[in-house]
Amino acid sequence: MLNGFLRNSKVRIGLGVFAAFLLLALLGPWFVSAVMHTTPRTIDYDALGQPPSAKHLLGTTLPGSDVLAQVIVGARGSVFVGITSAVLATVIAALVGVPSGFLGGRLDHGLTAFTNLFLTLPSFALTLIIAGYVQGAAWWVIALIIAAFEWPGGARTLRSQTMSLRGRDFTVAMRMLGESKTRLVFAEVMPHMTGIVSAMFLRACVAGVFAEAALSFLGIGTTGSVSWGTIISEAQGQSAILNGLWWWFVPPGLCIALLGTATALVNFGIDEISNPRLSAANRKLMKRFRRAARTAEPEVAR
């Protein structure tokens, strides 16, 4: 299964881009200081708001900072917040959804009510308010706040899947052998949900990056550090669009879009594996088969 997954070209491209961003987030700051010999806040008084050139590959901001350095360092802020919030959201979704679906009864009623409550809250507005309240918080606090509003959808999905898997014959059969509940959940039910969980995780990742960018754009994200959101926010604050400084806000925007595309590609691949009818390869195969059948027909008739 994993083999087929990695052979899928969409998945390969998606995972490749995702891995590149991850690498950027891990090594970016070191790269900027060691190779580019600059920092995102270093001001070059000779180049204020200059378009891309050999010296500044992506140009400079109006105050004179290097955009490339900012984008590279900003990856850490954005990607780390995205991944941390996604891990948290996925774990919370599993902890709420799976027991709720598997055990049923009063616990299920309680947890479902709790999930629905979070599901109906106006999440972005609340994120805004809370993030504004803890202004100047560390990046992981922002991740925590984003995760707190990201999990309910996933919990619902996992709950319904667990309910369906709990009643399947193979789970019932193992239960009737005397298998413990923990083992039933981890050995019989959970392995069937890896596809859903990974898709959920990737989606949450992008949502986290978006949310962080949005918060930074509104000026209530992490303070002091650079992220793609803060770059766009500064560009907006200093009328980059009006002054035609496109190299200032396009790179971070493209990065966010590219990360979104990468996860979408991986998710397409997961879909194709869990639902073989969606597979493009299969469709091609079917076309070839039909063509072959058409050309073969006269021979059969003869």
Binding site: R168, D169, F170, V172, A173, M174, M176, L177, G178
Partner: protein
């Protein structure tokens, strides 16, 4: 006769109906069913779809609690407490109908059987575990065993999967096997193999078996005792040959007539009891079952009594019994086709 291994008396099950306007109504899936299983013998439970056979099996397997009645294992009443259930599962195992659904597609045979062995022998590991797993595969005739142990379910055929399912049930060394239509999903050509395997387990391991089927021919092949269920009630039972050769309930007669028999040609003019009726009718709606004997709307011999009360049990000398007013009213001879 020896004491029964598993005995269920007056077992009933009602499922609540969900939906608007049906609060409080129930489906009477099984009513007052009695099943007795003895060591080394096979009881067949025969009936059409929806007659409650599977519900009986699932109640006996403790998949869900009965609404009324008692289940006794080796004379002791069975409770649904968690620990009691575990020791019950060690004695009574259910074989599922669909071998394609009852094995987890993500686990190899080694894991499935190994877990089944280790649940009740916690210290089993390594070489000994492997040896016992291979022994199980040998028991269900899956040779060469070394090859089958590392297969995934999707690499096996339906018959091979059903053997794995049986091996898994045998792993706990049960004394009772409940087979819920174990061959109905299999190819006709391999059904006999599985039936012979079950017969072998009865003879060699002395298992008590409940064999649930809608196919009376396979029941005739395999079983020692046959019980017939209709609409959640046991209507007839007894030794295999008596039930099949001289059915004492019109429904059994209908079941026998509707199973294909190469000896009886369509054109021979040999009209059975039910040939006159074009429409054999349908099983009743169990939310609102017919009064009296539930078979009366479909029965060619229905009398007034049949519409009012369920008949008492009539016992026959050879151990056969039936719930039918014909015998209470001394009209049993009509079943043999005599005027």
């Amino acid at each position: 006769m020896t004491a029964p291994v598993l005995e269920a008396t007056n077992l009933s099950k009602e499922f609540p109906v969900h939906g608007r306007g049906s609060r409080g109504t129930t489906v009477k899936a099984v009513q007052n069913a009695n099943v007795t299983l003895h060591k080394g013998s096979i009881v067949a439970l025969v009936g059409e779809s929806g007659s409650g056979k599977t519900t009986v099996a699932r109640m006996l397997a403790l998949a869900y609690p009965q609404t009324a009645g008692t289940i006794r294992l080796n004379g002791a009443e069975v409770s649904h407490a968690r620990n009691a259930e575990r020791s019950y599962f060690r004695q009574v195992q259910l074989i599922f109908q669909d071998p394609f659904a009852s094995l987890n597609p993500l686990h190899k045979v080694r894991y499935t059987l190994g877990r089944a062995l280790r649940i009740h022998q916690r210290t089993l590991r390594g070489k000994e575990l492997e040896e016992q797993t291979l022994e199980l595969l040998r028991k269900v005739n899956l040779t060469p065993v070394e090859q089958f142990i590392d297969k995934f379910p999707h690499e096996l055929s339906g018959g091979q999967r059903q053997r794995i399912v049986i091996a898994r049930a045998l792993a706990v060394r049960p004394s009772v096997l409940l087979g819920d239509e174990p061959i109905s999903m299999l190819d006709v050509s391999i059904r006999l193999d599985i039936l012979n395997l079950l017969a072998k387990l009865r003879d060699e391991e002395g298992l008590a078996l409940l064999y649930i089927t809608h196919d009376i021919a396979s029941a005739r092949y395999l079983c020692d005792t046959i019980q017939v269920m209709y609409a959640g009630q046991m209507v007839e039972g007894g030794p295999r040959d008596s039930v099949i050769q001289s059915p004492k309930h019109p429904y059994t007669k209908l079941l026998l007539d509707s199973s294909p028999d190469p000896g009886r040609s369509l054109r021979s003019g040999d009209t059975g009891l039910f040939d006159v009726a074009d429409d054999l009718g349908e099983p009743p709606n169990l939310v609102d079952p017919p009064s009296g004997c539930q078979f009366h709307p479909r029965c060619p011999f229905a009398m007034d009594e049949c519409r009012q009360t369920f008949p008492e049990r009539t016992e026959f000398p050879d151990g056969q019994w039936a719930h039918c007013w014909l015998h209470q009213k001394d009209r049993g001879h009509v079943l043999e086709g005599k005027p």
